[in-house]
Symmetry: C2
């Protein structure tokens, strides 16, 4: 199949597919006489693997390691587990950060009752140095 078909089949931008090839995440496919890329089922499933991993937020480097393991079924699976576990921890940390951020934003927005920017609590709160809840 040509790159456009692979693109539709996997929901991946054409430019992104070529990018993945350029950085060595996908192997260079065969070419037609017209120098068009020609992909098979293996490329397709490899790209699906990459897309799914990206959707889960793994970095390109992490995916490289995961693909490497996937290419060597005789290796120990512990590394995959470590990568995934570390990633899960990062996701949990990010959620915690964003939750704190949500609290602060809610607090700031709750104080805005319209009017002029000069009296705006949102702008005022941003100017403060981290003291957003009024002390009493």
């Amino acid at each position: 199949m040509k790159i456009g078909e692979l693109s539709r089949a996997t929901g991946t931008n054409i430019e992104t597919i070529r990018y993945y090839e350029r950085i060595g995440l996908l192997p260079p496919p065969a070419r037609t006489d017209a120098n068009y890329r020609s992909y098979g089922g293996e490329h397709r499933s490899r790209l699906s693997f990459v897309r799914h991993s990206r959707d889960l937020g793994f970095t390109i480097e992490e995916i490289r390691s995961l693909l490497d393991l996937s290419d060597h079924p005789d290796r120990d699976c512990g590394e995959a587990d470590r990568i995934a576990t570390r990633h899960l921890e990062q996701v949990e940390e990010k959620i915690a950060q964003l939750s704190a951020l949500r609290e602060e934003l809610s607090r700031i927005i709750g104080r805005c009752r319209g009017g002029l920017a000069g009296d705006c609590r949102v702008i005022e709160a941003l100017g403060d140095h981290g003291q957003c809840a009024s002390p009493h």
Copy 2:
């Protein structure tokens, strides 16, 4: 004060301060005879505003709008409220996404019992097209 002092006073990298000036987020300060940047209290509070906003995850463009409002106290504050509210929505959406992601990662990792990569549930799950809980 010189750029190093401003840097320490606001917890901002020197390179970042110059970057903010370059993109027009901070006004160019006066210069000493030796062509050193010379900042006053206004620069300091403006930079604090920027840092605090960045910590809350606002983009540079959003901060540009917020600063603009802050510079014109006679304008309507509704725009600040809209920016902050939209941002809060984005944060909430991101939290929701990450929570879903956490669930999927936990599920994937829970299935790994060690062994060889060929049997690894983590790698297998990544290869699937979104069907990670086995149907039976």
